[in-house]
């Protein structure tokens, strides 16, 4: 991703963002609310059109208007802060929708892979339940399963624990740690500094649409060089 810029009207949200994610790496974006973290993930998923700059995914410039955005999205997974599960489908229906309709997997095989993935996130017994009958943590695990079941090359996770009760945050973060150790490539933004420290290969601090500081967790969180980063971290810890 290089020189990415995005403005909504006169409001410049991303002002020339550059960073790289390598296969199997986990990049954690940190920064205050409104610093552009969510917009960055949406741009990467082509849900927002960038105003300038280039995003390269598996060697292809996906910001080129000739690129089929649906096809690009089918190779990525995005998990939202508020789960965004489809309430009219069962848990299994949510997980298998993209397999069946986007990837053309036969219903029986899709069901099998869906159940395996639900088992993977510890929710096999909830397959026939409706999303509304689950706790927030369970719903978010279903959402992660839904994104993961198509074997995306990149997972984007947008504040996936921010809407959860504190005692439910752990189950989702544990799942993400497992994914990281299995080699899933991830970009996520979070306010959970302890988690960022544990799983991130690279931490990027975003402020006013620019990455002010990036490096290993030990550098950025443990020993921040920039005044703004220090101010942000002290506010979070207070």
């Amino acid at each position: 991703m290089s020189g990415v810029r995005k403005a909504f009207g006169s409001n410049v949200v991303l002002d020339g963002v550059d960073f790289t994610v390598n296969r199997g790496e986990c990049v954690v974006l940190i920064g205050a609310s409104g610093s552009g973290k969510s917009t960055l993930l949406r741009c990467a998923n082509l849900l927002e059109t960038v105003d300038d700059g280039v995003i390269t995914f598996e060697g292809e410039d996906i910001t080129d208007p000739r690129v089929n955005g649906d096809e690009v999205r089918s190779r990525m997974g995005l998990v939202f802060q508020s789960y965004n599960l489809f309430p009219h489908l069962t848990v299994l229906g949510n997980v298998t929708l993209a397999l069946r309709k986007v990837h053309g997997v036969a219903a029986a095989e899709a069901e099998q892979r869906g159940l395996a993935m639900l088992d993977r996130v510890g929710l096999a017994e909830k397959a026939r339940a409706r999303p509304d009958d689950l706790s927030g943590g369970q719903q978010q695990r279903v959402a992660i399963a839904r994104a993961l079941v198509t074997n995306p090359r990149l997972m984007l996770l947008d504040e996936v624990t921010s809407a959860l009760d504190p005692e439910l945050v752990g189950e989702v973060l544990d799942l993400l740690s497992d994914l990281k150790s299995e080699g899933v490539t991830m970009v996520l933004n979070t306010h959970e500094m302890g988690f960022a420290r544990d799983v991130a290969d690279t931490v990027c601090f975003l402020h006013d649409g620019v990455i002010h500081e990036s490096g290993t967790p030990a550098q950025v969180i443990g020993d921040p060089q920039q005044e703004r980063t220090r101010a942000f971290l002290s506010r979070i810890r207070a």
């Binding site: 020189g3 810029r5 410049v12 300038d52 700059g53 280039v54 910001t63 208007p65």
Partner: protein
């Protein structure tokens, strides 16, 4: 957020993207325009080249007859507009009452709910034309003191009764779409049931169903012409009928149809505009 950085210049790659998007947009527009013209052209040629076109042209599209009948039909249309406006106001009042009755809770309100349900079931089940016949001729015959005996009054009453059943269901859907937590929040502030309804639930419900209501209003504009069957109300359709009876040339009906479209098209665009304003992106957009 900081204000816009004014010195930003798009990069060469971005300029190339933008010009590509512009070319794509121009191409799409050209294809759409060409295909529209083609379809209309084919339909036009088919109609005009049909064997009976000469006779149809004479009886339905006689320019002199159209000019002759225009003032009478237009005067009739004014009657339609008046019927529509008066009925629409009454419909909102009646249907809102029914909708509120149907959404009340608790065993005490059971008779209200029953009454509302029966009303909706009956008047939604009856064809509008039948209601107009029954009330339009039967209503005056009742000779109720205090109520006018005119066909106009009873015709409007038929429209109001019939449409209120439909519109009440739209309102009910709107009221029920407002989440229960909104009612709880209202009651938690100490508002009564009625106050919660008035200040919290209905304003939200109203906003959600307005596009659907406008749709019903357009429909009402046209159905106001059905009162013509009562014979004594001279609306646009009845006026066209009278003009046609003079020489059995059907052009006045075409004139009436044209005028009705002129009346409903602005309403339809207004509905689309409002729906878009409410955030239904792309709703009814022509482009």
């Amino acid at each position: 957020m900081r204000p816009a950085v004014t010195d930003w210049q798009p990069s060469a790659i971005q300029l190339e993207r933008e010009s590509y998007r512009r070319r794509q947009a121009a191409r799409s527009t050209a294809i759409a325009a060409a295909s529209t013209a083609l379809v209309l052209g084919v339909v036009g040629v088919l109609v005009v080249s049909s064997p009976g076109w000469e006779r149809v042209h004479e009886t339905y599209f006689d320019w002199d007859k159209a000019v002759d009948s225009f003032p009478a039909v237009l005067a009739g249309l004014w009657m339609n507009v008046k019927i529509m406006v008066v009925s629409a106001i009454a419909i909102v009042v009646v249907s809102l009452t029914i909708a509120v009755m149907r959404t009340t809770r608790g065993p005490i309100a059971f008779p209200l709910r029953l009454l509302g349900t029966v009303y909706v079931d009956v008047f939604r089940g009856l064809p509008l034309l039948l209601v107009i016949f029954l009330l339009g001729f039967g209503g005056p015959a009742l000779d109720l003191s205090g109520l006018p005996r005119s066909a106009l009054f009873w015709g409007c009453a038929s429209l109001v009764l019939s449409y209120s059943a439909y519109v009440a269901e739209v309102f009910r859907a709107g009221i029920e779409s407002v989440h229960q937590s909104q009612r709880l929040a209202g009651r938690a502030l100490g508002l009564t049931y009625a106050q919660t309804l008035r200040h919290v639930v209905l304003p939200q419900a109203w906003r959600r169903v307005l596009p659907a209501l406008m749709n019903d209003l357009v429909s009402l504009q046209k159905d106001s012409g059905l009162i013509a069957v009562l014979g004594t109300v001279i609306d646009a359709i009845r006026a066209a009928q009278i003009e046609t009876a003079k020489d059995f040339n059907y052009t006045p009906y075409v004139v009436a149809g044209f005028l009705f479209i002129c009346l409903t098209v602005p309403m339809a665009r207004l509905t689309d505009w409002y729906a878009r304003k409410q955030g239904f992106a792309g709703a009814g957009s022509l482009m």
